[in-house]
């Protein structure tokens, strides 16, 4: 009995593996896409603003305004351009030629040498709110630097009230690739696991070969195992490749244990595969399966996993939704394992959540497959 069961399983596994090998697009999803995505995101996503074009309007040029303007010409963050009138500068901002305007009015020097607190007009383009905030931070740095050097040059006693030091643990240089690359692995595995499996199994339903499989002596659990295993291998292969690119090319440290990383990835892979099976069994058509997989697997893994956007900052109802996104748990594990080390209080609860999700998805897939036969 057992021998027969094994033989059936082997036959099914052979069929699935051949199917993968004969369609190059499966291999591409598992191995080419991860590398392409890693390269794109590693080089393409950056929040560090540099060379921000800035309009300088100085209505009454003199020694004081020149010393202030000099700070912008020396700063690596700005490319200042001089404008004669503030109207011209605003027109340039409208045309998206400059991202901000510094405006020293004609009475600037008089106010500065008099009572002090002379206003420096600053207008930033706020459309990209986050970028605008980063630019404001750089502007404040230039301003504070100028205040201190001006005070020193003129022998004025000047002290900043606070001495502030920022220390960023795990990623002292605040490299965005260091935190994006581990999160990206979750995204790539979601794609291989959920999208690929959903499409493949939906195709079998569409063509009717799934029903043909279900009426063979093979048990449903055997069919499910045969569908899971080859794609499991494919997904883990893609994962290993991504880890190699992340540590080799982007020099992201892997401070935790590689075995723990593999174990967590295996559990996550199972939950993604289970999800793919459920989607395909539910939709039974490739177009719908593809759309659903992108909507419920890929987009949440991108937006709701803490991969780019901070979960704590989301409104409460959205935070609740993130608890059913498997990538959320996996991203937390990955970021800790890569940058911090084996932090068990982070790894264990998140792995347990993933295992639970995997079990639920596979059980549901089993049920759905059985029901559709009756």
């Amino acid at each position: 009995m057992n021998a027969r069961r094994w033989m059936r399983l082997r036959g099914l596994l052979r069929k699935e593996s051949l199917q993968i090998l004969r369609d190059p697009s499966s291999i591409a999803i598992a191995f080419v896409m991860p590398v392409v995505l890693l390269l794109l995101i590693g080089y393409g996503l950056s929040l560090d603003a540099k060379n921000v074009p800035l309009a300088l309007v100085i209505e009454n040029p003199n020694a004081e305004s020149a010393s202030f303007a000099a700070g912008f010409f020396q700063s690596p963050y700005f490319i200042p351009v001089r404008f004669g009138a503030v109207q011209d500068a605003e027109a340039a901002m409208r045309a998206r030629e400059v991202d901000g305007i510094i405006w020293l009015r004609s009475n600037f020097t008089r106010q500065m040498l008099g009572a002090g607190a002379a206003p420096i007009g600053v207008i930033v383009n706020g459309v990209d709110a986050n970028n605008a905030r980063i630019v404001e931070g750089y502007l404040q740095q230039v301003w504070a630097g100028w205040l201190a050097s001006y005070a020193a040059a003129h022998g004025i006693a000047f002290a900043e009230p606070l001495n502030v030091e920022f220390r960023v643990w795990f990623n002292p240089a605040v490299e965005s690739a260091d935190f994006l690359a581990p999160g990206l692995i979750a995204l790539i595995m979601t794609l291989t696991g959920a999208l690929l499996t959903a499409m493949v199994v939906a195709r079998e339903w569409e063509r009717g070969t799934m029903e043909a499989l279900l009426v063979t002596p093979a048990a449903i659990s055997e069919i499910i195992v045969s569908k899971l295993l080859p794609y499991f291998g494919l997904g883990m292969g893609g994962m290993a490749l991504s880890v190699a690119v992340t540590t080799g090319l982007f020099h992201v440290p892997l401070r935790g244990s590689i075995w723990l990383l593999m174990a967590a990835s295996a559990v996550f892979m199972l939950s993604a595969l289970g999800m793919g099976l459920v989607i395909s069994t539910f939709s039974k058509n490739q177009f719908a399966a593809g759309q659903i997989a992108i909507t419920v697997a890929y987009m949440p893994a991108f937006m709701l996993s803490g991969f780019v956007f901070d979960i704590a900052s989301m409104p409460a109802p959205i935070r609740v939704i993130t608890y059913v996104v498997g990538a959320r748990y996996f991203v937390a594990i990955l970021q800790s394992l890569f940058l911090a080390g084996n932090v068990w209080p982070v790894v264990l609860p998140n792995m347990a959540a993933l295992a639970l999700m995997a079990a639920i998805f596979i059980a549901v897939a089993r049920r759905l497959a059985r029901k559709s036969l009756e």
Binding site: Y43, G44, A132, F166, G306, S313, M314, V343
Partner: protein, 369 residues
């Protein structure tokens, strides 16, 4: 000829809409995504958990802690009393930031030397850490001003008077929601068109279509129209939801927006049909669609500015229709841009559309001979 095209359009629409599940996935997910992502995709910080480590229990230091605890960006979840307590809190992700006030903080302040404040941030999400640093600096600045004023110190020689234009309160949602209009229009349109020819090829009906009296141009129009229809209708639904639900202002004219949307959807249809004409199966088409969507969303300026990318990659973004429509959508929504000022964004999308549609048409014909 018109009747033939009309018949093909009806057939294409039926192919997608007659199946209840396909109909459902065209309508429900984009709207759900808009609501979820409209709230989730934000770089504004709210309720970031932090711990206060105040070694100087005095009025001045308590005031500083209170300013952080009272800010909507931060929530105080713990108060610690020794160095050893910092690491466990950060390691376990209980807090993102520890605010450490030096023992001599008040004494230094009273003497006129700077009071020492240290921040420890969790760099596992370095992006959030960076943004939190910006928020912290803003709070520290107002605290410094408050202290100087209270002590009757002379104000700085010059002060910054910062105003934001177009998005006066620097609300991330105003930036993201117009982007979602374009993003979701791209995904829906691309998936519809990319799978349309591949589906027929898989079923073998595409060869039949090619031997009908229809010319490739007519097939191209028939295959494009449903994508155009669905893409523009979905974009419209999101525009309405953005204005009504998210209260994003619509400062420009609808003509400027729709001129851009039409050209954008056409260029995406061109890309979709090109992918479709190259793919032999739906799976390959979906992979192709994905290989288009992923880079085009990352290299578009949707989440991070194009100006921050390496120069070489900046040139690549000129091939991306999403790059142009994002400027159009944000321009019309927030800046009140007119159609005339957006012409530099319109023509590249038109060009991309013409080239991709021509290639797709040529591919159809090549399959015949």
């Amino acid at each position: 000829m018109l009747r033939r095209i009309a018949a093909l359009i009806v057939k294409e629409l039926l192919a997608v809409l007659k199946d209840g599940k396909s109909r459902f996935v065209l309508i429900a997910p984009p709207l759900i995504q808009l609501i979820v992502f409209g709230y989730a995709a934000t770089f504004d910080l709210n309720h970031v958990p932090f711990a206060a480590y105040n070694e100087d229990p005095s009025a001045a230091s308590r005031e500083l802690v209170a300013r952080f605890a009272g800010s909507p960006a931060f929530t105080e979840v713990a108060s610690i009393h020794s160095d050893g307590e910092i690491a466990p809190l950060i390691d376990r992700r209980k807090v993102l930031m520890v605010l450490h006030i030096d023992r001599r903080f008040t004494r230094d302040l009273m003497r006129g030397s700077p009071g020492r404040v240290q921040f420890i941030l969790d760099g596992r999400n370095s992006n959030t850490a960076l943004i939190a640093m910006g928020y912290a600096n803003a709070i520290l600045n107002t605290y410094g001003d408050w202290w100087s004023a209270r002590r009757g110190l002379k104000p700085a020689r010059a002060v910054l008077d910062i105003r934001a234009r177009f998005n006066e309160n620097l609300d991330s949602q105003w930036f993201i929601v117009p982007g979602i209009v374009a993003l979701l229009a791209e995904i829906v349109t691309l998936l519809m068109t990319a799978l349309s020819v591949a589906r027929e090829r898989e079923a073998g009906t595409f060869d039949q279509l090619l031997v009908t009296p229809m010319r490739p141009v007519e097939i191209l129009i028939g295959k494009s129209a449903p994508g155009l229809l669905v893409g523009v209708i979905e974009a419209t639904a999101i525009v309405v939801a953005g204005v009504v639900w998210f209260h994003v202002p619509m400062r420009g004219g609808l003509f400027a927006l729709y001129a851009g949307l039409l050209l954008f959807v056409l260029s995406v249809i061109g890309a979709g049909l090109m992918i479709s004409s190259l793919a032999a199966t739906q799976q390959q088409a979906l992979l192709g669609a994905f290989m288009f969507i992923a880079p085009s969303t990352i290299l578009s300026g949707f989440a991070t500015p194009i100006a921050n990318m390496p120069r070489l990659i900046q040139y690549v973004t000129y091939l991306n229709p999403l790059r142009y429509i994002l400027i159009v959508a944000r321009g019309v929504f927030l800046e009140g841009a007119t159609a005339g000022s957006l012409i530099p964004q319109y023509w590249p999308m038109a060009l991309i559309g013409i080239v991709t549609l021509a290639v797709a048409g040529a591919m159809f014909r090549r399959r015949l001979y």
